[in-house]
């Protein structure tokens, strides 16, 4: 709220001057606000990174640097199941993304281009499914998975994650296909392509960036999923990262050394890709969401 009022106050300070000019005091206030906000945003992440580089016995000291070492990382990889958790997460999130995108690509195109009986109902279903709380499906899916022996199997988690990724991918891809001009479809028709041929040969190649963003988004959604992963996977080597990280910090105590090292290994690659892709992500989200 404070930022809000400050902002408008600054408007007042700025506008009587020439466009782009503002009083030095206003500039200072702007920078101070941004610096404080940035520190709050970055610091917890930075602190985990710094802690992971300290020997475990100094994990909770407030010194920024203290005997920098990689022992947390080597211990993590040698003494824990971290690599199997990482592998499980890659397999589960990767498969559910690939299958989700693959299954829903044609649907995204169909609802973007055709009018057909049942379209409205389908769109509504896709939208409503995205507000399903995990609590609605988790018990029945758990019982079904237990019944067919897929509990504690990556395959069970992949199938479960399709309940998240399929409606989401179809919805986001509709947004991307909507941005491709219809004239391209028409020219395909004129050249004698079937609707599916048009989709496959003309539209899909144009939609590649959109597909990539959708895929990436559903990948990080599955990568960060906690509820299903915690409920369905037990036993040290079957966990995904979300379950594995919980092993280090439980009610009996906390191993901050391996926890912080694992956090860094999980977060840094994800963050780099995210920051690289974020411009497209935002466009994609709003394309999917705003046109609802």
């Amino acid at each position: 709220m404070t930022t809000l009022t400050e902002t408008s106050a600054r408007h007042a300070a700025r506008r009587p001057r020439r466009r782009g000019d503002r009083s030095p005091a206003a500039s200072v206030a702007l920078h101070v606000t941004l610096i404080v906000a940035s520190v709050i945003a970055v610091f917890p992440v930075l602190w985990v990174l710094l802690t992971s580089l300290k020997p475990a016995k100094f994990a909770t000291t407030t010194d920024f640097f203290k005997e920098t070492t990689f022992e947390n990382y080597t211990n993590l990889i040698k003494d824990t199941e971290f690599l199997s958790w990482f592998g499980n997460s890659v397999v589960v999130a990767g498969l559910s993304t690939v299958i989700g995108v693959f299954v829903s690509a044609t649907t995204g195109y169909a609802v973007s281009r055709f009018r057909f009986p049942g379209k409205r109902g389908l769109m509504w279903t896709l939208l409503i499914t995205q507000m399903f709380p995990v609590a609605v499906l988790i018990v029945p899916i758990y019982n079904i998975m237990a019944g067919i022996g897929l509990l504690n199997q990556p395959a069970g988690l992949v199938i479960t994650y399709l309940t998240i990724s399929v409606p989401f991918c179809a919805w986001m891809m509709k947004g991307f296909f909507d941005t491709i001009p219809h004239e391209i479809d028409e020219s395909g028709q004129v050249d004698g392509l079937t609707p599916f041929g048009t989709f496959w040969r003309l539209i899909l190649p144009l939609a590649k960036p959109g597909l990539a963003v959708t895929a990436f988004y559903s990948f990080i959604t599955a990568w960060g999923e906690v509820a299903y992963a915690s409920a369905f996977m037990v036993g040290d080597e079957n966990l995904t990262l979300a379950g594995g990280l919980q092993k280090f910090v439980n009610q009996y105590g906390a191993q901050w050394g391996p926890m912080t090292a694992a956090s860094v290994l999980i977060a840094i690659p994800a963050a780099l890709v995210f920051l690289f892709a974020q411009k497209h992500l935002v466009t994609g989200m709003s394309a999917g969401a705003v046109k609802g």
Binding site: R15, L30, W47, T60, R115, G121, I138, I144
Partner: protein, 338 residues
Amino acid sequence: MAVHTSQSVAKAAGDTVARGRSRGTGNPPPPSRLRRAMSVHWYAWTMVAPVVIVIGVIIGYPLGRGIWLSLTDANERNVARSIGVNELPATYKFVGVDNYVDALTGTQFLGTLGWTLVWTVSCVGITFCLGMGLANILNRRIAGRSAYRMALILPWAIPGFVSVFAWRFLYNEDRGLLNKILGGGGIDGIPWLNDPTWAKFSVIAVNVWLGVPFMMVALLGGLQSIPSEQYEAAEMDGATAWQRFRHITLPGLRPVSTTVILLSTIWTFNMFPVIFLLTRGGPGEATQILVTQAYKFSFEISPRDFAQSSTWGVLILVLLMLFAMVYRRVLRTQGDNW
């Protein structure tokens, strides 16, 4: 739009309704109409088939079973299960709406719902205000803007569960950084996660930290789409900064803000990881929201209470759908064609 629309849309949509209903009443439609619809729409129907099948099988069927379970007294001891080589059949029975009556008349559901509403409203409200403020600042010409933007987006880039553990580390009562800083200033450590009131404050703070980047980026996109001529014209007419904000910025942001508020309300209402990983709903049940409590019924207590959990799940879904409907209707009466 370009392809295969031989009839008006209204007519075509009417067709489905008629067919759906008549199938239920055992009164098949004239075959010619079905065949005609088939020949016109089979392409579209084939293309959506994979998703329809997936949704039907892995969402529709479990959803149906979930609703069924909520009408029974199913728990860990009476569902079908196998012990060794013995297959035990299910022995739970239909109890009608008893579970719903219990939930809606008891104190636990309503109490948890109350805190869930406080949690959702405060998280969305604070996140929206902070996101709006930061977006407004970042929308100006200011040195180092892209560096600030990058830094402010960072919490969004980190997988949620990792951030939550980072915060648990900071919040730790004896060894956490926050209390060490307070201690350095001579202030007693705060039981961030062990005192009901502080725990509520702490979980909201973390969720706001997680949510601001998305809000800020979405609103920034909205701000950039407002034509600057409008501001210039308003300045010419002598509008004050507040008037410009009130009459240009806010209306201009309306399409974006209605969407992000709807989305983040639904996300926050269902925000499982923050509560589950930070406090497990504790201390006591102080920070338990509906979703984590439903999870607790079926996965943390013994015997696992599947019926109760499903009941809460269905109630959450109904609440969210009601909210979305009311929200849309309110927007529509205010002239938003959304």
